[in-house]
Symmetry: C2
């Protein structure tokens, strides 16, 4: 009989969100009349903007006509969309040929693992988005290095302490910590990558939420990054494309392997084999999103989510816990000190009727933290705040709250 | 510096369609006023049906409203769509839980290679859809066994001659040969798989084109197939979803690895890591396609393409060459005997102004054949026929054509 792929044995159970769901279900079963408010997953709540929705309708109509129908698009995505992305997000410092349109950042992260293969060693931030690790384990792996990211190091790894690895995965604004890398931090890491012959996979899926004009929205704002970095991004969060799926990955043409083989060429070969292009509807919607009207509408949605973040932040600050993130990212990362994440989760669910995400689910260094997501509807957020104000667990009241 | 993934070295160049494109470009450059007619790639030409287009518009509108918006769907796809597929294509002999909705069969073939991993040995038909081989080479591989499929064995491998492999890839109706496996052939192969502890990956992307009611449209029509077979299929060809992307894969819950580990469970884990669900728009469109009206409209499109196939078949038959396929498949596979595929391609392009696909591009056993696709518009097909009738290359005229 066929042997199981041994790589699957090394995966720990997909624990975090299924376990959250299991606990929520158990609580609801015992408390059928209690309304729970979720600040847990990072799913968007605001509708597609008018310009996007209109374009999707137009394209849906066209695809139903002989004149407007077309089938396969290029695997790499429509050139017109790649040009728009190059212009809007990279001020044309990246060429359209370096941009690969996809069905989302998560899928691209998987494809990048396939690109580099089992023999590539990787390092990830701890806490981290679990997909970096799981996709590596499935492709096959050298040991994975976990880089502690805590308040002590401003949630960013110190290049001097980095192990020798082929690939470094960085996420900024970070999921889950909500921290955002500064130019200085990115400079130090680009310089480390150059010195050590490593490559950086930079996940910028939340870059549109950055408010501070001094913070970089792309790693390519750092000189020399094009020689050592791949950037992954997505329309999911800023344009509400979580359901209709669209992302992109930048593979600079200058990126080389050890024997000067082109990374871009291998990735092209990979996507023409493992992928057949993102939906041409989603691509049309994305192009509309990057029109003048589309960008204005998106900005309003971003502002809306960031107001959510600010409301949650304010309500939690009064409780006195140290809060990170939520200023340039749609996630807040709250430090509950010595307490355990799953116990915190349970207390907040049972007493405050809030669903959060336990920090330890993202890695050992997330222990003691909870992640709060700002992607809810305003009604949802306002209810959450009321619960925080009126039903905060006694066990979590601080004797001497920090000054706000 | 980072080493190139050694698996990429074993890939031969992505030769077939790029080389077709290169030769077409060169010809057009030298003959700017000649109109070339393409019967080459398998891209659909008929618009989305009215029911599908209408549903896409409706859903596009809804996603732009607070009440109708939603984000992430389940990675496995909407349960309502999985139920429809189970009912329409498998008469409910497959459960919705066994169906995984995806962004297309090609992508699923890649994910299946990841599921079984580098250590799994595979066998493919020769000629074959190149993606089976290329995706295996990228994931890493034991030698791949190529099973000759020629007129001598009715384009189907003899189970008695099969090597010991973990996975057998079968495509029926076949791309490129247009041949369709009979129940007896599939019975023999299911029985072989059971005896030898192998699994079958059955690509049924063209099943909707089968006209003969005695030919199986799914491998699960064969008793016991659920214990040894995975089936991959797609809305691309029969519903015109090549651009908007939607496919599915059936992983029966009973499928087991050597130590009785569940294949279904590992695949679930794989798609929750490497995939984030197909576009909810495409899923809504697919559900509309499987409504009563939708199915009627699809049947008309299938009939249209099969009429195309019949027209091409008739025109070529007069020339006397032996033609396979085109009866239960949208591809015709024409046997030009001792001649070389690329020479044939060149003659037909230069003298008849027809673009075909050289059979040798699909494998050694495709040498001497050309593939003709029936997916064009009627205008396109009629022009092609006129060219066949009036501009057939002298070098390809048979002295004594076969009787029709």
């Amino acid at each position: 009989m066929v042997k199981r792929n041994p790589n699957f044995k090394s995966l720990s159970e997909n624990y975090l969100f299924p376990e959250v769901a299991r606990r929520v279900k158990a609580f609801k079963h015992q408390n059928p009349h209690v309304e729970l408010i979720s600040l847990s997953i990072g799913d968007t709540s605001q509708p597609l903007s008018a310009t996007i929705s209109k374009m999707l309708k137009k394209k849906s109509e066209e695809l139903g006509t002989h004149a407007g129908y077309h089938g396969y698009g290029p695997e790499q995505g429509a050139l017109s969309l790649r040009k728009k992305i190059a212009h809007v997000f990279y001020s044309d410092t990246i060429s359209p040929e370096e941009i690969f349109i996809s069905d989302g950042a998560k899928c691209d992260i998987g494809r990048l693992q396939l690109l580099f293969g089992a023999q590539a060693s990787i390092a990830v931030q701890d806490p981290t988005y679990p997909v970096y690790v799981d996709s590596k384990l499935i492709v096959g792996c050298h040991p994975i290095a976990y880089l502690p990211c805590t308040p002590q190091n401003n949630f960013f790894p110190d290049p001097k302490l980095l192990p020798a690895v082929d690939l470094l995965y960085l996420c900024s604004p970070n999921n889950p910590t909500g921290s955002t890398a500064t130019k200085e931090q990115l400079k130090s890491i680009v310089s480390w990558a150059k010195k050590n012959g490593a490559l950086i996979v930079y996940d910028a899926a939340y870059a549109a939420f950055i408010q501070d004009p001094d913070l970089p929205k792309s790693i390519y704002e750092i000189a020399g990054a094009k020689e050592v970095a791949i950037e992954v991004s997505s329309f999911s969060k800023f344009a509400g494309f979580t359901g209709i799926r669209l992302g992109w990955t930048v593979i600079p043409k200058g990126l080389r392997f050890e024997q000067y083989e082109s990374v871009h060429q291998d990735y092209t070969r990979l996507i023409t084999t493992f992928f057949n292009g993102a939906s041409i509807l989603s691509q049309a919607g994305a192009e509309a999103a990057l029109s003048e009207n589309g960008l204005e509408e998106i900005q309003r949605t971003i502002n809306f989510y960031m107001e959510n973040a600010s409301l949650i932040r304010h309500a939690l600050q009064i409780k006195g816990y140290k809060i990170y993130g939520g200023m340039n990212a749609p996630y807040l990362w709250v430090d509950f000190g010595e307490k355990k994440s799953w116990e915190l989760f349970q207390h907040l669910m049972e007493e405050t009727h809030l669903i959060t995400t336990p920090g330890s689910g993202f890695g050992l260094c997330g222990e003691g933290f909870l992640r709060f997501s700002a992607f809810g509807t305003r009604q949802n957020i306002q209810k959450a705040i009321k619960h925080i104000e009126t039903k905060w667990p006694r066990s979590l009241e601080l004797m001497s709250p920090l000054p706000i």
